[in-house]
């Protein structure tokens, strides 16, 4: 479970770090080295406090007869507020707000958790916020990072336990605005999760209810 949490936080870290990139960065030119790229990402992420976007998640698991597609929205405020909401086919929300959080779905009552008492969520949150400060170099301790194209990188876990759950993570950035277009998580055995992002809003005004209420329309 620890590894699954690491797996999850890695994904989040990449997503969050990636979408903190500002557009038109000259660092994304063909000639930029990996180190320069990491440095540029860190600089640009520190200037950005809030953002929101839409996403589509497609999970291709051997468990399912066909890929399962979910639509959703992401919102976050540095340093410790995050909202991951699925809108269809099954509405559900996961909120981190400081050292507390809420899990919600349409049919059941919201489940509040305290990171102090929920080791799974705590680990997820701890690593997530470590990633969100944009210090990408921390990722290098546990993962091998490689540029795989003009706008793509590949991350492979170094740790054996983590690699039992994640084979690698591939991120593709938009050629124009350098926002991540997709994140692909490949698991051993062939299971794959593809998340595509669109409609970015940088520094939007996010009401407090974003991180305190399950379903805003309620």
């Amino acid at each position: 479970m620890k590894n699954s949490s690491s797996f999850f936080t890695t994904i989040f870290a990449f997503i969050a770090t990636s979408i903190l990139l500002l557009p038109s960065s000259p660092a994304f030119s063909k000639d930029i080295s990996l180190e320069e790229l990491l440095l540029d990402i860190r600089k640009k992420s520190s200037a950005l406090t809030t953002l929101s976007c839409d996403f589509t998640q497609k999970r291709s698991l051997a468990l399912f007869n066909k890929p399962i597609v979910f639509q959703g929205q992401l919102a976050l405020i540095r340093p410790d507020k995050l909202r991951w909401e699925f809108i269809s086919p099954v509405p559900s929300v996961l909120i981190f707000n400081g050292d507390k959080g809420i899990r919600c779905n349409d049919n059941d009552k919201p489940v509040k958790f305290d990171l102090a008492n929920d080791p799974v969520m705590k680990m997820v949150a701890e690593q997530l916020w470590t990633w969100l400060d944009g210090d990408y170099s921390r990722l290098e301790k546990e993962y091998a990072i490689k540029k795989t194209g003009d706008s793509a990188i590949l991350v492979t876990p170094k740790n054996q336990k983590t690699s039992n759950l994640i084979k690698n993570i591939s991120i593709v950035f938009d050629g124009e605005n350098r926002q991540p277009k997709s994140v692909t998580i490949l698991e051993p055995g062939g299971d794959k999760t593809l998340i595509t992002f669109n409609d970015y809003q940088l520094s939007p005004t996010l009401p407090d209810t974003t991180f305190t209420t399950c379903f805003i329309s309620d």
């Binding site: 479970m1 620890k2 590894n3 699954s4 949490s5 797996f7 999850f8 994904i11 989040f12 998640q57 999970r59 698991l61 051997a62 468990l63 399912f64 007869n65 066909k66 399962i68 979910f70 991951w84 699925f86 099954v90 559900s92 996961l94 899990r103 779905n105 049919n107 102090a116 008492n117 080791p119 799974v120 969520m121 997820v124 759950l165 998580i185 299971d191 999760t193």
Partner: protein, 797 residues
Amino acid sequence: MINLSPKQKWIIAIATVLIGALLAASININDDAFDLLPGTAVKGDLRLLQKLGLVDRVIISLSLDNEEADITSLKRSGLALGKLLESSEYFTNVMYYLPQKFELKTYQKFQPLLPLLFDEQDLLLLEPLTSPTGIESSLQKSFNLLNSPAGYGMKHQIQSDPLGISSLFLNKLKYLRAEYSLIIEDGLFLSKDRKNCLIIAESRLELTDADAAAFIQQVLTRSFNTTLAPGVTPRIIGTLPHTLANANSVKHDLKILLPIATILLLSLIIITLKNIRSLLVIGIPFLAAPSAIAITGIIFEEMSALALGFGIVLLGIAVDFAIHLYIGLAGADSSENFLKTIRKPILLATLTTASVFVVLLFSEIPSHRQMATLALSGVVLAVLYSWYLVPLISPKNSTHFAITTTHFQLCSSQGSSPFARRCILLAWVILFVSGVVSWPNLKYNGNLQTLDAPDRTVIEDENHFRKTWDEKGDQAFIVSSAKELDQAFEKNHYVFRELLRLKAPSFQSIAPILPSLADQASNLKGWHNFWAKNKSDFSSEFLSKAADLGFSEKAFKPFFDSLDTKTQPRSLINDLPDGLKDLIGAMIRLPEQQRGKANENNYLITTTLSTDEGLYSSLLELDKANQNITLLANKKWRDQVEFLLRHDIITLSLAAAACITIITLISFRSLRATAAVLAPVISALSAMAVFSAVTGRELNMMHLLMGIMVIGLSVDYGIFTVYSKRKQSSNSSLLAVSICAISSLIGFGVLSFAQHPALSALGVTVLIGIGAAWPTAILVSPAIIGNLYVSDHSEKP
């Protein structure tokens, strides 16, 4: 008869003392508090408690009492201290940490074994999960979880347990939850306010022993200094602080009270007897101590320190005989004639005192029997020493006493008028009747805690602990024992089912996750029967719903494979993950872990619970109906001790009274003389009863002991008083009686100021008893005798 010279007498006396001392030196003196307990049942229970390691358990609560430290320091301190104690040779079964997600790890290990654990009740709870509604709900939840951020990496768990059967298993783990209110954070046991950390360990040394307790305290203090961050305060709960507090209390009391009593006593002797040689009078009877200790040690093989201490105190009764001899010889015209005169009363007094101690030999309390043996042999020897040695030091024809016999002549002349006699007798009768009326209202307290003397720090620490960890009510233990481990599991499971039937509110038991082989076989049968009945309908419904949600046909193959389990009943202890093994290990006691020979010990499994009045009586029935199931509860011991105590007080007191009455009747052949002899005894007992009834004090084991001693002392006063009237001898006897009484009052009166409740109870009892017996001997006994012996003397030439 051989005539020995004074020198020869001293040589023989010193030689016997030296021989006695040599023999006494080799005797094993133990600090065993169990010798204070009456009856084998209570002792057996407490020995069982010791075998379980509960008596030697050390509970440490670390607290953040100020702003100096924070939660990080607290956790670091807890972890460091726990590790240090775990590696220490003086501690075992150290519980301070559970690995992360131990519940999930336990489930993962036990998942293939669920058919062995699920009983009828679990299968009843499983049934709705396998209904069409249950299937749909479970699969929908699994689908949502797989697609959520929290669901990554949960594929295998969902494939193996789509219905959430793990929740039924996790329900069983709740019975392992300690009686304390705590949370587990970073593996450590924290209070809900996260300001306290709990560590539990077991000392390898016996904590009922004062020296061992002091040593363990030193080890802990060093450990605290090494591991705890500034601002983290340790508090220790359990036997250890109580043993130390009691030992320190007794030491403190004796350090202060013993010198005061000694100085006062010596001052009394010197002031009243006005001769430095009179100091030897006190010492001579105690020459008997080494030989008496040796005799007691030979009979009992070992002796408790308490019995030794109090036995020596009881020996102090013999000082009375030495004082009588000294004063009588000093005032006598002829030593030879005086010794002839005093022989009978001394013999009679020795006989009555000895008979009282013989009665005490029948006490239910082992230490009382040891004390009685020591006092009995000591008094007899002390009388012999006094008889042969006091004449050698007593001054002759000396009337230089501060309180002269003239004073007693005055007393007796005043007391001899009819009106005075009537008043004195009336007052005495009132006291007697008050005593009789008070006797049925006496309260007995068998609570062993009344002998405890915790200091303020111990009480504050315990209050803080109860408040922090929400410890509820009186804790009790039910111990299942058997020669084989599996049989012990079977008994333990029976206890579990009984507690469920009795609707016990909260208890800690390993039965749900460690059933016996027979119970496992029964559960397995139930599992197979359940799925044989439900499987085909369940399978078709499940696969249909799963397909509707998009699951593949083989998505839940691991789950369906587990339904056709090939697992067989077996020992499950080795399937426990590491952290849980330690936790459960504390509740299972193997023979080799217990003190004594392993092959004489049983396997012991403990269930812990909080009891209330209603539940207690049902548990007692369970204990009585089952040989291998034992209830260990403070209330149970209290009831037993009170029963035995009441038995001892009534029976032994009556027996002692009967003995001295018969002996006195035979000696004096006069009811009036007998009444005069027994009057001080009656006054002493009546006064003690009235005092206890009026003050509401409860009688405990120490009162029994001192009550016997007071009877022995009081009857001596009566004997010497009556004899002095009979022989119309000088009032030296009354002087001697008074000095004896005052010396007892000083010695035990000082004790009534002791911090230790047991010592204080002794002091008060003797103070009241002797305080009533003394004036009775001086005033009432002569009044009862009246002119009984006047005609005898008037007829003599």
